[in-house]
Symmetry: C2
Subunit: 233 residues, 2 copies
Amino acid sequence: MNEPLYRKVIDKIVAQISTGELLPGSMLPSEMQIAAETGVSQGTARKSLMMLEQLGIVRREQGRGTFVTARTPESSLFNFFRLRQPDGQMIRPELVSQEVTERPALPLERETLDGAPMRVFEIRRVRSLRGTPSIFETTVVSTIRFSGLDQRAPLPNTLYVLYQQSYGCIILRADESISSVLANDDTSQALGVPPGMPLLCVDRVAFDIMGRQVERRRSLCRTDTMVYQVSLT
Amino acid sequence: MNEPLYRKVIDKIVAQISTGELLPGSMLPSEMQIAAETGVSQGTARKSLMMLEQLGIVRREQGRGTFVTARTPESSLFNFFRLRQPDGQMIRPELVSQEVTERPALPLERETLDGAPMRVFEIRRVRSLRGTPSIFETTVVSTIRFSGLDQRAPLPNTLYVLYQQSYGCIILRADESISSVLANDDTSQALGVPPGMPLLCVDRVAFDIMGRQVERRRSLCRTDTMVYQVSLT
DNA sequence: TATATGACATCTTATACAAGACTTATTCTA
DNA sequence: TAGAATAAGTCTTGTATAAGATGTCATATA
């Protein structure tokens, strides 16, 4: 029982969000209300809320309130889409084609995806940047957690908004492993580039608010006109 | 005068660090002392210190004190060296060769590097991972801010420790732009790989504690046995 | 329509006490 | 007496609470 009070308040709020009791975009109770409900002082409730803001789980605005982070197409792109023009300007990718298939989970997918699903949906998409097909993307999610996803075509440009709105799944973190590869036949055909062109291979695993791995994604990207940008601290 | 008190305290401490009045690794005055010196309460001093910790500028330890972040070879690699084994394990790069030359600054370098230097040092290094030459790295810094750098051979594996210890320059942030390229003749010779091999091209600009751009670096990396890993939030 | 007001939110600052880390003096033991 | 174990004291930061300032917005009022 050595856990500090503010931690218990954090856990309680996170639980409320993950069960859907608090919906993305909705306003949390005020500091005073949270304090009263949890039996702590307003200052302690505030400390909890500040840490939740720091974790990216809520957003606070003086005079207005505290709100559960909602994945909008904008925030989704800003946080998780790292391809930019060389001058740093954002690019908005457009969807060129997509297809959703169901198949058995590979051993790696079964081992790592939350719920150890036997079957998965595979979403293949080609996205273009400023008119040029530039990204060949393969996304894998559990058929259990995202049941009926294949019925929802056409899928939106930003899947994370769909995950949130239709499945209550809030993506908060993603780990990416990047390597340099040569375009193979499939990829060169999908993107319309010559085989052997150097591409960026971005392998992503995405985690929800509880830290569960809910998505695996591989993106093959042209980087002749844009670059993958990231800030290290 | 709408700036909150804790902000002023932060600015004062950052200034003291950047002038060398507070050295990396040294202990800051206690919360009580800072409060007395700056005319605020201990709680306000604490808020400032907590934000400085959050920014990575100081490290706090209960019962011991608050210390200025010191760049060690370990922290330097952990924070700024993103190449990892596919399983996520860290790799420690070894230095294979290096040469330092002085040359006129390119227009881009003169425009962006702090102090608009007319001349720069260019540091060319080949680094190997587990015995295999894997990174061909070209680093550019101002001859003004880092005067005499060319006399300091051999340079250490982690330059940021040298910047800090010999020039009082603390690197806190770096922006990287990543693209996929084919090895050209120079690079393939330096790394001992066939020309046309896909390589990761990592362009970095590094910033000091005051947000000044102090270094530009291009790294060409093999990614056949390791990957560039990063976490998005 | 423009302005003032009040309810209510977070933000800023202040204070008290708890807990961890060292130092130092004391006590016990060989 | 020398040396190790122990305990007290005093540093440090961590946690909890409270009061007043400030920002936001809806609504009443001129």
